[in-house]
Amino acid sequence: MTHQTHPYHMVNPSPWPLTGAFSALLMTSGLAMWFHFNSTILLSLGMLTNLLTMYQWWRDIVREGTFQGHHTFTVQKGLRYGMILFIISEIFFFAGFFWAFYHSSLAPTPELGGCWPPTGIIPLNPLEVPLLNTAVLLASGVTITWAHHSLMEGDRMSMLQSLLITIMLGIYFTLLQASEYLETPFTISDGVYGSTFFMATGFHGLHVIIGSTFLTICFFRQLNFHFTSSHHFGFEAAAWYWHFVDVVWLFLYVSIYWWGS
């Protein structure tokens, strides 16, 4: 009978990295086909295979950790490093958009009228829906901390309740932001103001949707008793990601909505 004498996880051979890589090929070339030849079949195929890959890859991780017990303390440490490094890479991603915003807004060109907001742009009032959005995300930060403490204390019902409230706040933010998008008097093609506004807030909104999805998966895992009071890294990773999304919004609000008006 063989057994490992180390705490690491030697993963079974898996096809998902391959299907993931090819789905990336299909998505990128699909974008090109859509832009230049008005055909969406490759893009749709790419997005579908990407979704299938993500579902099966993460399903396998749950099987390996929760059901097969491979997530030792050492393995968990590696997962923590991984999540932190991923979030740091996302911070750099957003840093690019903030750089673009400040580059254009700190020294507005004569073409814009030499002022920020540029001539002709009516910015959104930061004290209306954007302020509500800020309150919504800050509240969701409180409720997710409540959920974490409930989980650590073994209070199953409170954990489910507070996690559900967190998810609902995330959905509320997304709906509010979508309605704001329909109400803006400017579009993405309205010069550099429109470009920086919609690129930064648009990618942020996408990350809110990703974060809400991650939290929803944690909700169903908690329903199915996957988490214990001392071992629940999937939930912690979701919470870290959610706090990151919240902080990015605070920077967006202060820079683009408030200072930029």
């Binding site: 070339s29 079949i41 195929l45 099966q56 097969q68 008793f225």
Partner: protein, 113 residues
Amino acid sequence: MYYKFSGFTQRLVGAWASDAYSPQGLKPVVSTKAPPIIFATPTKLTFESTYDYAGKNKVPELQKFFQKSDGVPVHLKRGLPDQMLYRTTMALTVGGTIYCLIALYMASQPKNK
């Protein structure tokens, strides 16, 4: 006035009574036993004593199931549903890649005006 030894300055420094009553170095030993894992039953009393947790805890039986040493890799461990999903994904991926290469080849042909 109470005193304690500051490990930082290596001198005696003023301290509160609390430090005198639980002196440094003589703090109660932290239990090295891991706290009991709270799995399903909550420790707090709820207003309903009988609670339906929307289904019972199936994790222990799933653990037994997925730990069967049958040599099957984890992505196929459940049998037929896993196989069907894997084959669908692979078929779409490989088919899509072939379609992509053909489309890119055709797109790279110069337009005959």
